[in-house]
């Protein structure tokens, strides 16, 4: 039994176990993976197979029970220690001062049994978090309090200040995101997979082939006119459903111990707690359709866990995004007016949008000439050229950057426009990249490395001299000066290799 004994002295910790309920929950979950095999065995009338299935089931149950029984953890004065396994033992310990993120999820089977699972992330590169599957919610709350606060502060109960609660109305933004399409594709893929396992040839290639054959002797315009509203409605409904399942009860609250908690989920509830001092910035992203309804999403850039950018706000009105970022950071760096990039960046954006379109058209034309594809395909691709030019132009228009007192803000992208604000003192090193064409145009791409979020954030196609000005502001004072072409400051290399 887990022992959420609040009087436990931290200096003499006891080993805790997973909740006893896990002895039922875990085997059931593990057996579920075997359900398909068991189901198919029903059609094989053979004693041997039944015995094998039974033995495998018993083995699975035994393994899950051992895993539950042998998993132990404890919080010592400076470590979270974890061990599991009877035969192959795994011991792991995570220094408490390295703990950055406390992630709590409860899939349906845990929620029904009043349990939750917890992932505790540290600051190393590898995915080295400790995963505790199946502890009670009270125990999870105790661990969170214990691990994310100083032992002294833990004595006083932490208070919650809700910062943002998602409005039910925001679900109408869901059709303006790609989520509906993603869900539809996932469903199609699963259906396809199922059909395949029942012996129906439903590979993407054969589907496309039959669709193509069918399209050649049908009134395509009529079919499209009839199908489009149905498809759009279905995808919108899916996206709203997906939104409700994922973001039900979305709240961001500040806990008085200096951390931020983000909770969401209808079936699987998710609660992410991050230490505020680990926040290295924020990104605001706008998918093109969301732009039309003046909405955006926001993610945090959190230090420590690699590729960890927890969602700060799902699709919401622009000013609510602004309010949320301001509430969390004390300021909204993504709202500052940005400096546009030199005109020389425009041709580069347009070329990069137009050339792939042209290449696709040429390939389609060649395929059509050899009678593999109907000729309307390359004609359609060619008609997309003005769209490609518009895309390139828009991609240039969204390029921008700015340096504020604390943040480096950069923006770019068209179909997915992202504005990233990175804490200046969080930048570890910088890289400047120039292609042959960028050198001629006096442009450069600047990349800043941060030990948080995606790991690096780029400013594309800025003037080379602006880039050096930014480098000067994000790196510690005096580091850049000696490396400038027209600078009086001379670096005195401690190292000058001389070969006689």
């Amino acid at each position: 039994m887990n022992s959420p004994d609040d009087t436990t002295d931290v200096s003499e910790p006891r080993w805790s176990r997973l909740a006893l309920r896990m002895l039922f929950v875990q085997p059931l979950a593990d057996l579920r993976g075997m359900a398909v095999v068991a189901f198919s065995l029903l059609f094989v009338h053979s004693d041997i197979f039944e015995w094998i299935a039974l033995a495998a089931g018993a083995f699975t149950v035994a393994i899950s029970i051992t895993r539950v029984l042998t998993t132990r953890y404890r919080v010592t004065a400076d470590c979270l220690e974890y061990r599991t396994g009877l035969i192959g033992r795994h011991n792991r310990s995570l220094p408490r001062d390295r703990i950055r993120v406390f992630d709590q999820t409860a899939v349906l089977r845990y929620r029904l049994s009043g349990l939750t699972e917890v992932r505790i992330g540290a600051g190393n590169h590898s995915s080295d978090g400790i995963h505790l599957g199946g502890i009670t919610r009270r125990e999870a709350a105790r661990l969170r309090k214990l691990l994310l606060t100083d032992t002294a502060a833990a004595a006083t109960p932490a208070s919650h200040i809700p910062l943002v609660t998602a409005s039910r109305r925001w679900m109408w933004y869901a059709p303006f995101t790609l989520s509906g399409v993603t869900i539809a594709l996932t469903l199609l893929y699963s259906a396809n997979h199922l059909a395949y396992s029942f012996g129906v040839d439903a590979s993407a290639w054969s589907m496309a082939e039959s669709l193509l054959r069918w399209s050649t002797h049908t009134n395509l315009a009529l079919v499209l006119a009839a199908a489009t509203p149905v498809v759009v409605l279905a995808i919108s409904a899916l996206s709203i459903l997906g939104y409700l399942v994922a973001y039900w009860g979305f709240t961001v609250s500040r806990i008085s111990d200096g951390s931020l908690r983000i909770q969401r989920g209808l079936l699987t509830t998710r609660s992410t707690t991050v230490q505020e001092q680990r926040i290295r910035g924020v990104t605001r992203n706008v998918q093109l359709p969301l732009r039309i309804v003046r909405a955006a999403r926001a993610h945090l850039i959190v230090g420590g866990a690699r590729a960890h950018s927890p969602l700060l706000l799902p699709s919401a009105p622009r000013d609510r995004v602004h309010d949320t970022i301001t509430a969390v950071l004390g300021t909204d760096p993504t709202a500052v007016p940005l400096r546009a990039h030199p005109r020389a960046a425009l041709p580069r954006r347009i070329v990069r949008a137009v050339v792939p379109t042209l290449l696709v058209s040429v390939v389609l034309f060649w395929l059509a000439r050899n009678g593999i594809l109907p000729s309307w395909t390359w004609q359609t691709a060619l008609c997309c050229l003005p769209l490609a030019i518009a895309l390139g132009w828009h991609r240039y228009r969204t390029l921008g950057h700015q340096v504020t007192d604390d943040y480096l803000v950069s923006s770019g992208g068209s179909l997915l426009q992202e504005t990233a604000a990175v804490l200046r003192r969080g930048v570890t090193d910088v890289a400047l990249h120039q292609t042959l064409f960028q050198r001629r145009a006096g442009l450069a791409n600047l990349k800043t490395y941060v030990a948080a979020g995606h790991g690096s954030y780029a400013v594309r196609d800025m003037a080379h001299s602006d880039a050096t000005a930014i480098i000067d502001q994000v790196l510690p004072a005096g580091v850049l000066a000696p490396f400038l072409a027209n600078s009086a400051a001379q670096s005195t290399p401690p190292l000058h290799l001389v070969h006689p």
């Binding site: 890289a431 990249h433 050096t468 400038l484």
Partner: protein, 172 residues
Amino acid sequence: MTDALTADTPHASLGPLRPPTELPSHRAIWHWSTQAAIGWMFVIAWPIAASYILDHPPAWLYTIMTAEAIAAVLHVSVMPWWRYRVHRWEVSDEAAYTRVGWISYHYHIVPASRIQTVDIHRHALQRMFGLATVSVSTAHGGLMIDGLRLTDADQVADTLKSIIQATPGDAT
């Protein structure tokens, strides 16, 4: 509190970067060309093998073979010399600074206070030429100083280590 600069405030113009001062070893040229030649051998092997295996190899197979051979010869002979004109490095008390690339230039600056580890590594081909790479890593980034003689690499790594011991903090 952060207050924004207005959008038309110009940055203090600092002008462009200058290249770092130090050159890689001359042997790096031969290392780069050997490396490129080995890479191309794998590419050209396929059409050659196909022309032996197939009973009636199509004509375009020979076109591909010729095109690849021309590209390989150009790459192996031009790239290393060009690269030698671009690759530069520099280590000062405050930072490590490199420029790498040939057609494209990559500049990288790592402040000494952000360096976490300094390593030397050499793969088999580098050992043949007596070369080594010094890699300087930060929490999520870092740079490599490529094409140094082993003795020089040791010296660079030692210098960097003594600098980072004298500088606190790593911004994580």
